[in-house]
Symmetry: D2
Subunit: 505 residues, 4 copies
Amino acid sequence: MAAPGSPQEEDECVSGAQLIAEALKAQNIEYMFGIVGVPVIEVAVAAQASGIKYIGMRNEQAASYAASAIGYLTSRPGVCLVVSGPGLIHALAGMANANMNCWPLIVIGGSSDRNQETMGAFQEFPQVEACRLYSKFTARPSSLEAIPAVIEKAVRASIYGRPGACYVDIPGDFVNQQVKRNSVKYVGCCPAPPISMAEEAAISKAAAIITHSKKPLVIIGKGAAYSRAENSIRKLVDQCGLPFLPTPMGKGVVPDNHPYCVAAARSRALQGADTIILLGARLNWILHFGLPPRFRPDVKIIQVDICAEELGNNVKPVAALLGDIRAVSEQLLDQLNKKLWKYPSDTDWWKDLRAKMQSNDETSKALSLQKRLPMNYYTVFYHIREHLPKDCLLISEGANTMDIGRTMLPNYYPRHRLDAGTFGTMGVGLGFAIAAAMVAKDRNPQQQVVCIEGDSAFGFSGMEVETMCRYNLPVIIIVVNNNGIYSGLDADTWKEMLKLGEPSA
Amino acid sequence: MAAPGSPQEEDECVSGAQLIAEALKAQNIEYMFGIVGVPVIEVAVAAQASGIKYIGMRNEQAASYAASAIGYLTSRPGVCLVVSGPGLIHALAGMANANMNCWPLIVIGGSSDRNQETMGAFQEFPQVEACRLYSKFTARPSSLEAIPAVIEKAVRASIYGRPGACYVDIPGDFVNQQVKRNSVKYVGCCPAPPISMAEEAAISKAAAIITHSKKPLVIIGKGAAYSRAENSIRKLVDQCGLPFLPTPMGKGVVPDNHPYCVAAARSRALQGADTIILLGARLNWILHFGLPPRFRPDVKIIQVDICAEELGNNVKPVAALLGDIRAVSEQLLDQLNKKLWKYPSDTDWWKDLRAKMQSNDETSKALSLQKRLPMNYYTVFYHIREHLPKDCLLISEGANTMDIGRTMLPNYYPRHRLDAGTFGTMGVGLGFAIAAAMVAKDRNPQQQVVCIEGDSAFGFSGMEVETMCRYNLPVIIIVVNNNGIYSGLDADTWKEMLKLGEPSA
Amino acid sequence: MAAPGSPQEEDECVSGAQLIAEALKAQNIEYMFGIVGVPVIEVAVAAQASGIKYIGMRNEQAASYAASAIGYLTSRPGVCLVVSGPGLIHALAGMANANMNCWPLIVIGGSSDRNQETMGAFQEFPQVEACRLYSKFTARPSSLEAIPAVIEKAVRASIYGRPGACYVDIPGDFVNQQVKRNSVKYVGCCPAPPISMAEEAAISKAAAIITHSKKPLVIIGKGAAYSRAENSIRKLVDQCGLPFLPTPMGKGVVPDNHPYCVAAARSRALQGADTIILLGARLNWILHFGLPPRFRPDVKIIQVDICAEELGNNVKPVAALLGDIRAVSEQLLDQLNKKLWKYPSDTDWWKDLRAKMQSNDETSKALSLQKRLPMNYYTVFYHIREHLPKDCLLISEGANTMDIGRTMLPNYYPRHRLDAGTFGTMGVGLGFAIAAAMVAKDRNPQQQVVCIEGDSAFGFSGMEVETMCRYNLPVIIIVVNNNGIYSGLDADTWKEMLKLGEPSA
Amino acid sequence: MAAPGSPQEEDECVSGAQLIAEALKAQNIEYMFGIVGVPVIEVAVAAQASGIKYIGMRNEQAASYAASAIGYLTSRPGVCLVVSGPGLIHALAGMANANMNCWPLIVIGGSSDRNQETMGAFQEFPQVEACRLYSKFTARPSSLEAIPAVIEKAVRASIYGRPGACYVDIPGDFVNQQVKRNSVKYVGCCPAPPISMAEEAAISKAAAIITHSKKPLVIIGKGAAYSRAENSIRKLVDQCGLPFLPTPMGKGVVPDNHPYCVAAARSRALQGADTIILLGARLNWILHFGLPPRFRPDVKIIQVDICAEELGNNVKPVAALLGDIRAVSEQLLDQLNKKLWKYPSDTDWWKDLRAKMQSNDETSKALSLQKRLPMNYYTVFYHIREHLPKDCLLISEGANTMDIGRTMLPNYYPRHRLDAGTFGTMGVGLGFAIAAAMVAKDRNPQQQVVCIEGDSAFGFSGMEVETMCRYNLPVIIIVVNNNGIYSGLDADTWKEMLKLGEPSA
């Protein structure tokens, strides 16, 4: 058989399904999640045959969440394969989540046969249009011949610039249609994203501000994790002696047990810092928009981001460093090293932070050691923590479960935590765990995947336990059952609802 | 306390949550399905307090499917209540399904606080815009004062004309905001939809064609079921002696065991009919677009529909009767009665149909009685049938499970069958069953709800078994396990996949 | 040559352009307006060759306005033919205006060659999606073979139900592509819209309310004009002695000089009526939403509309009559005639209205006779009025020019007035005039077309004077020059702007 | 009076209109184009009062084109101010054009009063949603207080990253509403866009490829012009002896009469080059997608772009340099200078190009000197050229007029040519000329603005001659009248149309 892309026979034919599979493989796609059915069954079969790992899930919603995690974990997008109409609509959830998290994702949706369009075809829907709000790029190849180029463009768009979701629509009649190989426009694998750096003037300015700061703080976002900036950021923190704070999925870029980590004094750190080096984190709700009263009104933000339009959102930075987080971190590090500058470890700022950290640690420890029923969250996590391997991949969702778990369970490695993320999405848990387990199986078979769920959160994707079993994926799921679907419900409201005599939840 | 809508005190205040609940109650909304969380908890609490039955589900997807069934069963829309961002996106599935089925549905979505818009608020998303493709009407009230009017308009739009889904967006800051009662613009309950009839000339023309037909056929769609046309259509069939064929959810408008039902000779009936009276059914994929080879090229279609734009889709009707299905059926009946016309029971057409029915019945009976393992579908349904009460409400989804089940399991009453419907939606099963059980509990506590699911179909919403248990809903679920997520997969493909050594599904 | 639709030779081929032209002709399309260019030149040529009148305009914006008026004047939509990208975007204006006015319109847009899609093709744009917000139906035929069916569906959707705009997208490569005639799916001309009527119970209820009313008022909207209801409404007014008020484009359904016309006491009539028969008019901004203080809070609205969803907007009607305006007017007339009911001509209501009309007439006459410079609007229209033929077709836009002109210039025939309409669109003038002149030329060559424009309004489409000259269209244009682009600007603001030393307008 | 942004009195109030004007002024907005009317009159008045130059146009379409040119000419976006509904829809044209050209633009649209939304308000339309396809950012401030922040975000988004259009929606009731100054969230002027550079490794790789090339070619796009890269690119060309080719609006970055300009051998240069340095130009239809037969199949593209997602479109580059065009050009120049490399001037490639240029020049000169009627295009432009000042700002549109004019009329300075651009937009001419004249008046009063239009192109915006007169703008307009609205029409088609007896155009 001729190698894809190098046909030997003029007359050799290839089906649409085969072309899709080959095109994905040519783009180094490794994982595909989905639910098959008319018209995409043959696409899954061809993908498997070409060496892509296909995981059949129970609901496209969970499949789309699973696929979205792949890109974050591996730098190459996962694929979510869905049927027409409802199948695609179920998968919008994962596209939205990926796009908000700035994670690459490819969704491939079968659609109605073209010759039945406008006639009320089976599951007919304007799918390309439906994906517009949730994606960076959404298109239907105009012919079988165009499939490889459109898939390359989708993969490239998903990882170049700020990553995000892309959609490729495949009319049902494409799947089994045949075309001669030599009429197909093959394209090679798109390279890793181009790297850009900040201009020297901006770096100098930033360095000058940092070296004059009294109360500096580094904030590490999941953009830093995505860009594989861990080595340079760790050096930056180490060599310059800077206190740092990770965002939820920024945890582990520098280990949580690093002495300069001030996560245990998060509020104090945010409120007190006079200068913040913001590395791949957005000043959105997670960081209280960078505004008072959670931040000083005169805080100087040195903002490092891959997306120009992000620079200046909500707060005007004193220095706006546009570029790849890893590359710019290195630029900053070089510049500060040239100055032989290090933030002293005996400043009032450090003393204040350390005191607050100690006090907070004591409070949480006291809570952890409480012996009463029902157990409080701190006790739960205190005991879980003791059994977690350092390199396990932690998935977490739920309200209190996720929030308190984040403070109690340390991460030691980058990209080892997956949670509800920027979009605060409930329902990602088991899909994420399946994706993580697949990646672990291939790259680090000893690695454990641990999924810690609130009971309400678990309900969104609990059926995917079956998928885990079917594929024999060694995921540990811990459900923290606070017996409440209403996670945010205060006790009084709850009582009031119970008085109504009907189970509210 | 003052009655809603008739405030006694000028200074009395009311919260947004309260206004929403009162407005829904004023529109005779009875059921609300959803998942609470920030910012809609108080809306659910207020709805419960006002007497609306709130059912807390496990996933907004299933909640939206549940709510969509309410409108079909009760003529008044159910409400799906969801949180912002991902919560709403999960519920698009039910909106799409309702809209395609022409069923009324109200989705109410919390959204970000307005003063954080454009800043990266928690779960910020353009929700009104996101619902455009899935709804007849989508809007955000501009103030608390406008809530009752917008909700009335949404409810009205959902049931007037061709029914469909509507969306109302509620900014988070509305929920607990207070406003004086006397500034609120209250509106009364919108009346039942106005009824329109076909013009007399069209009725006369239709009647003339029917009375001259050699091979007439009545096709009964779920539009006929929705419009409560069962009495007039039954009389039409009875008094005129017409063979009839129900669409999947048109089953039961006239009982399946009626002697004039030719469902057992479906293909023959469609192919042979020279004149078709199409009552609230669309010539879409379910009816093979009304085109050859499944229909005669010269078939005369008398098309009855509530939606003018539907008339003439795919086939040009000889008579286009625009109006309410019930009203127009009565017009037709009156006209045919005046002519004292009845289709003879001894025509070749009847003979042909009866012969084909008998032969098909024998085949399916033979299959039913096969004794081998694994059981075939016919055997399964043969035994199930014996235990189903005549008035049970049947829910069904899956590929073969639904298709063969439809032919094997009779319906005796209208609106007693819920399935994947026009949009072919997988995942509706348990949501539909929960809705049906809630309605049965209130209206006919003896009625059983039976949910027959393919094993793949079950996986979409299987977690909602917990919801059924929590609310103590007596639903019987039968999973027909063909051990295949790939329902449409032929054996050879399957074998090929297995050869790949990895579990494909 | 074989007649379109009845090919004689199996091998005869036909181009996409030819198919479009034939399909439009088969749907009785008479007029096409547009600007040609790549890729639609051949479409215009083929349309001309097939007997469709093609008018080459100067800007697609004006072309789209022209085409939108055709449907209102002739009951069959005009076509606007545009090139890709900017050409289509310019034409969105006419689609929006048609859709808001509930007028049928077909826009046909060329688009990029399909094999260059996603590559940055010439004027590549998602055109089908771009038309969504402005249309009832928007689609691209999936092949040349599907062109006739999609065009029939577009034409049908544009005139069935509530009329509106539809869009058909034609990829550039379709235009000259050839296909065998016998592979094309030909469809016949879609019939005139099906007529629906109100149910008898609603008619009886309405009649009972009318006969008990003390201060009745008939409001005649442009929906009544569109439905050709003039004869039945005139009889209703005459035989029942009812005062009536036309909306701007409802003028002429019953002549403005009819003794029962109370337009000269418009505000009084609206404020005083206890019962309103609303015939094809919406309770939107033009009718002050039907709300106090412009209407009585207890006014009883008998609402007659072709669109179910319109019934109940803003005010809950006492009777909602769903159906064709002409048909329902006849139903009402029959019912009232059976009751031998006539509203007395000597009631206080009539006295009040007549007194107010006389007083208003005197005021406007006094203004008309003022002799000073600059002339006031009343004087202008007073003199214009004397020279207008009774059957001329009046086009009017501008702020004061349109508003005062409406009260001063009578209409004697239905559909003889075109103005800014429901959407308040500035820029429609010359396009409307060109459309009107084309229709007049064919149907009533003696009829004059008179276009009365504010000077600001004229500026939007003034270049189309050249089009009028090129086609030798005898349009009379009167520009009422108040030297202001800021039509709504009060004198003080104006002075303030002038003080700034720069010409503001 | 207190300075904007520094209120002295707690109780001082400010209107929405005033806030908009101040916010625009604070963002260094200089020019506003529009048509006033309800509800934006006061916005224009306030803008004028605050020192922004307001130009009242005749059609929002032309106003939006005018405003879009400002950003390209001045690096700070122009504003287009429009009324609700049709006004905004007319302005979508300019948004589309700006977005496709990657030019910054701010459109501010009045919209309906919020308390009438969903009721059928005057010109009610979902305007924020309507702008989605045409913009980078589209939003409505949620309150008066939020206006400055939303306007800053819009301006920032329009110029950061790849520039484009942004939309800000202003409900009518905001305009005259008052708010206390000290409740407003003021934000300062957003700084010039952050500059990013390519990583060193990519620069080195690119330099190595260039120095090994046999047939190099520099292509200069309008992105290079936008980024003010003229000095570095001129040095690159000069010091390295590289042949270069400008795209239409890339003309003048290096003067057209530079000895290394090979525009006169455009096709030969594209077809022959083995290595192309692509500076701010896209491989779209204008550059034949970078594909054979217009390019060598093995051509090595060194692609320099500010937009990561652009890199790799249609052709896989050998080096992808992500960053600001000016900055990256300097990086390249530095690197090549370090290598002391210069492309020899006596290569076969140069000989081939020079021979082709000479031959083409002779052909065009011969055409220019033809003396016959009607004059050919070359003769026309030959004579125009003699009278054009070197530093005039040329605007051009039309088909042949623009295409041949581009080759015949040289540009000597960057950003001195404006034409139909990436989107091939007809109708931009007079709007662009007005914008250019306003900018010239302020920055270089001696500069002439010359607008060369095909007669069809002129028709789109010809009415704006009145605007030019009203503002006394010294624009020279030359209409090249080929008597054809059908610019692309070949002679035979034309004759065929004339035979039909009706003026076709």
